[in-house]
């Protein structure tokens, strides 16, 4: 039995006040681009949307492309069930995000930034626009040419996928594109684009403010820094918490559980479900295992206690995916329907329990062949729930 290396540690960077933003913006845009990139690279900040692509590298790739028109996009299409951190950031410290976007514009040579705000967060718009106005005034004041606009989504989970987001911004159906080409060379309107999650940009601000070391010193190998967690479900303390990465799930449950936690859904419906027996060996972070299994996450932590039927949970997820799949690729479109109908048929006794195994193999295929992350990640929660709560699926 391995013991967790780090205890649960609360951090307070992101929601710390943003009053220094003007200074930070001015200082940063006076630094050469490569220096800022190196700062980010050495902080080892990874994308906080869930996929964990190194942010510094992302900026670097886009900076290297020679094109007069480039875009910076802040991905605020926070649709993952159980996630609400981006909303908190945008309503509490929007200027941090705007500042980081502008710095990014300076680094890669872009004059235009967009915030893709999901349709459900329409109510954020007035406040956010106010901040953007304030930000713009200052930019004019220091003669820095960077404009930021809000682009409203209209209710499509898949638009959180970066290429689907571009399609959506271009006025089309939000269907993911084939990759390659990647956004750093062919993004919004075919131009090199950096697209970052809201939280990632907020962390960038922290790094610009305190330097990469403060950030790097937090967390564990491969998973540096802190992260916002959206805690919900069967917990006495639902809400947003900034915690150091690399924590053990058992510590997390000790802190947030209601004493009867039977499983935690890490990373929303498309994330992983960890049953009680796996708490101890699971840490929260990106790839590279220190102890046991390490799970990347967009920060959604849903706790379920033993009164909950995991069948209902899975049913809810699959219903969600069936509806929110963009529908263009076969494995995802038909696969989600089959999974949903399949578990229902097993529950009703129309198919025998062996059928679950066939469905498990199907999720594997979906993971290998789906066009984008949505279809690929359906397998995660499906296999974890079916494996660990098989009897609940059948009876």
């Amino acid at each position: 039995m391995s013991t967790p290396i780090y205890q649960l540690k609360r951090v307070d960077f992101i929601f710390k006040d943003e009053k220094d933003w003007k200074e930070i913006l001015k200082n940063s845009i006076n630094r050469p681009a490569h220096e800022l990139i190196n700062e980010l690279i050495s902080s080892e900040l990874k994308g906080r949307g869930g996929a964990g692509f190194p942010t510094g590298l992302k900026w670097k790739l886009a900076a290297e492309v020679d094109d007069p028109i480039k875009y910076v996009i802040c991905n605020a299409d926070e649709g993952e069930p159980g996630t609400f951190k981006d909303r908190e950031i945008l309503s509490k410290v929007p200027l941090k995000v705007l500042t980081s976007m502008a710095v990014c514009g300076h680094v890669i040579g872009s004059k235009e930034g967009y915030i893709y705000l999901r349709g459900e967060y329409f109510f954020l718009q007035p406040e956010l626009n106010k901040s953007i106005g304030e930000f713009k005034d200052y930019c004019n004041e220091i003669n820095f040419d960077f404009t930021i606009k809000i682009f409203m989504g209209s209710g499509a989970y898949i638009c959180g996928e970066e290429t689907a987001l571009f399609e959506s911004m271009e006025g089309k159906r939000g269907e993911p594109r084939n990759k390659p080409p990647f956004p750093s060379t062919f993004g919004y309107l075919g131009k090199p684009t950096v697209i970052n999650n809201v939280e990632t940009l907020a962390h960038c601000y922290t790094i610009f403010e305190y330097g990469s070391k403060r950030f790097y010193d937090l967390g564990v190998q491969y998973s540096r820094g802190s992260k916002l967690f959206s805690v919900s479900g069967d917990t006495p303390k639902p809400g947003i918490y900034e915690l150091e990465l690399g924590m053990s799930l058992v510590d997390f449950v000790d802190e947030f559980g209601d004493g009867d936690t039977k499983a935690v859904q890490v990373g929303g419906a498309s994330g992983f479900l960890v049953p009680r027996k796996g708490f101890r060996e699971t840490t929260i972070g990106f790839q590279g295992k220190l102890t046991g299994i390490s799970l990347p996450t967009g920060g959604s932590m849903m706790l379920f206690n033993s009164s909950r039927s995991m069948y209902n949970v899975l049913d809810n997820y699959l219903e969600f995916f069936r509806e929110e799949s963009c529908g263009q690729c076969t494995p995802c479109r038909v696969g989600c329907q089959q999974l949903l109908n399949g578990i229902k048929a097993v529950k009703r006794g129309e198919k025998n329990a062996q059928y679950l195994n066939k469905l498990m193999r199907l999720t594997e295929t979906m993971q290998y062949t789906a066009k984008c992350g949505l279809g690929q990640s359906v397998a995660n929660s499906f296999s974890a729930i079916v494996e660990n709560f098989r009897e609940e699926m059948i009876y």
């Binding site: 939000g174 269907e175 390659p180 509806e323 799949s325 076969t330 329907q337 290998y368 062949t369 690929q376």
Partner: protein, 596 residues
């Protein structure tokens, strides 16, 4: 040229151009990767996922059609993982599909059927989704039937309608499990902008889009002893039909086709090529008259360039998209409709038949002709000018049903009165053909000399470029056309409606100044029509075009105005091109339509 990169496919090393997709690279080495949503004519979608392959070292599989090769890639096209995944995907598609093949129009020529057969999907463990869904079948259009229960959502039709035709009658609607191919507000196909060109049918891998067939109606007419059933065959049919009946692509089967039609029981087998020649006479005259009005009379109202009007898909397109520019169209009916009008007048009179008892059938490479024959204007003979339009594919089915051993048929020739044609009529079947045929006649009528091209082959208007331009300088014309001396006759040819749009836009913007433009709705012209054998791809179109031009060169007469039956009809019946009778029977008008 960029440096070649090295990859291995199934442990065979090869060097290829950078940027080549895995699919193309594999095809170069004789490895077949199955595809569904991929089509040579269209952009890559990568949404069916049937073509997934394993790149060693990557956990996920990649779609071969959408993934470019990178240096050092080690690709496996048939690994355990790939096979399993592929089978799963096919099974998933089948679970959504109405698999009653025996009753499907595309039975035997269905890509999904072939795929399921190659992979021998023998189980159907997945839940039949098709049963619980309420699929609709849209059969309101006279040309096209859209059956959603057979649709696999590959979006080939959507891409065809958008990329090749620029019509966008079909689109993808909804998302997730409800995602479907739809028209605007799910209206029936005949209520939307659909031009009936049938290219979607030609690109559909399954039976989700098929032509509306009139086989039974024609059999009934043939069986009716009281009817005199006549048939006409379009130029492009004779070079496509063979493909459906066991011949190689590009085989010319004119004689056998005539023989088969006679065996089917048609009372007279005649040729649309005849009326193609007639079209040249009328359209050529119309062009010269417009030129005269423009260049000699300086009439400001004359509309130039004159646009051809043979292609009913194009006609409907311009009615929808450019309702203000209908005056540019030639008023000539399409050859099919000219034939139909004459069949129930000229032919009936000559053969002493009651026109009410004549059933006029035409065999077309086209689905839009089905719509065209349905237009209310097409009743100039006092009856419906053309009663039934069959596609090349439908004719092949009739031949098979009748048990005719097509391969062994003796050659026969068309019946007289409206069966004689020239090479100029034949080339109507290829893009540029109408233009070439018209120029052969117009130039000669104006100057008294044959067109100054070797062997009458006006090569600049041939070929598969989307927009082709040509110009001929008219020198020393005969007296009547003296005003044309030195005029450079500027022509353009566009095929595929997306190219038609380009030309139209350039005319409207004033960028281009043409005198005469040929528009064909389908890529390659009629030989690539929506009613032609499936598959149709660039290679096949090229071969069919070769066959058309070979047919032309083999004809003793190659200019429309030399056709003896044409001379006869003007002598006996029509009296002169653009005359009163012509106007009554051979010309028509157009109506603006809404754009959605």
């Amino acid at each position: 040229m960029a440096k070649k990169i090295k990859i291995t496919i199934n442990e065979v090393a090869l060097e290829i151009e950078p940027g080549t997709s895995i699919l193309d690279a594999a095809r170069q080495t004789g490895v077949i990767i199955p595809t569904l949503c991929y089509h040579k004519d269209l952009c890559v979608a990568g949404n069916c996922r049937v073509c997934v392959v394993e790149i060693v070292g990557q956990k996920r599989l990649s779609a071969a059609c959408a993934t470019p090769c990178e240096d050092g890639m080690d690709i496996l096209t048939n690994s355990f993982k790939v096979r399993n995944s592929r089978k799963h995907i096919i099974e998933l598609l089948l679970s959504e599909h109405n698999a009653d093949c025996t009753r499907c129009y595309k039975n035997g020529n269905c890509e999904l059927q072939k795929l399921a057969s190659d992979y021998k999907i023998m189980t159907q463990d997945f839940i039949r989704l098709s049963r619980s869904k309420n699929y609709t079948i849209d059969h309101y259009s006279p040309s096209i039937i859209k059956d959603d229960s057979k649709c696999i959502r590959c979006q080939r039709c959507v891409r065809t309608c958008e990329e090749i035709q620029g019509v966008n009658a079909l689109t993808v609607a909804y998302k997730g499990d409800r995602m479907k191919i739809s028209t605007f507000f799910e209206k029936p196909m005949n209520d939307v902008i659909c031009t009936n060109c049938g290219q979607c049918i030609n690109h559909c891998p399954t039976g989700a889009l098929v032509e509306k067939n009139y086989i039974e109606e024609v059999w009934e007419a043939i069986a009716d002893k009281g009817c005199h059933v006549i048939v006409q065959t379009a130029p492009a049919v004779r070079i496509g039909l063979g493909e459906e009946l066991g011949f190689k692509v590009g085989s010319r089967v004119t004689g056998k086709m005539v023989s088969a039609l006679k065996r089917l029981g048609f009372d007279a087998v005649m040729d649309t090529d005849f009326s193609a020649d007639l079209t040249i006479m009328e359209e050529g005259t119309e062009l010269m008259m417009r030129l005269k009005r423009a260049l000699e009379d300086h009439d400001p109202d004359v509309k130039l360039p004159m646009a051809t009007s043979c292609s009913p898909g194009w006609i409907k397109y311009i009615e929808h998209m450019y309702p203000d520019y209908l005056g540019y169209l030639s008023t000539c009916k399409s050859p099919q409709q000219m034939f139909g009008a004459l069949a129930k007048t000229y032919y009936a009179k000559a053969k002493n038949l009651n026109p009410a008892k004549i059933v006029s059938v035409s065999i077309m490479p086209c689905t839009a002709k089905k719509f065209e024959s349905n237009r209310p204007e097409m009743h100039d003979s006092g009856f419906r000018d053309v009663d039934y339009v069959l596609t090349t594919r439908e004719l092949a089915i009739m031949i098979k049903q009748a048990g005719i051993d097509f391969m062994r048929l003796e050659d026969m020739s068309f019946d007289s009165l409206m069966g004689e044609s020239t090479g100029a009529g034949v080339i109507f079947g290829a893009t540029g053909g109408v233009m070439e045929a018209a120029l052969r006649t117009v130039y000669e009528l104006v100057t008294g000399r044959p067109v100054p091209f070797e062997n009458l082959n006006i090569t600049p208007v041939r070929g598969m470029d989307g927009v082709k331009e040509a110009s001929i300088k008219i020198e020393s014309p005969i007296q009547e056309w003296a005003f044309l001396d030195g005029v450079e006759l500027k022509c353009a040819v566009a095929h595929g409606l997306i190219n038609a749009k380009k030309v139209m836009d350039s005319i409207i913007s004033g960028e281009s100044h043409y005198h005469f433009v040929e528009f064909m709705a389908c890529p390659g012209g009629c030989l690539g029509g929506g009613g032609q054998p499936i598959p149709t791809n660039p290679e096949i179109r090229r071969k069919r075009a070769e066959a058309i031009y070979a047919e032309d060169e083999g004809m003793p007469l190659r200019k429309s105005h030399q056709n003896p039956e044409i001379l006869k009809i003007y002598n006996d019946f029509l009296l002169k091109p653009m005359g009163e009778k012509s106007h009554q029977l051979l010309h028509t008008k157009y109506s603006p339509r809404k754009r959605f």
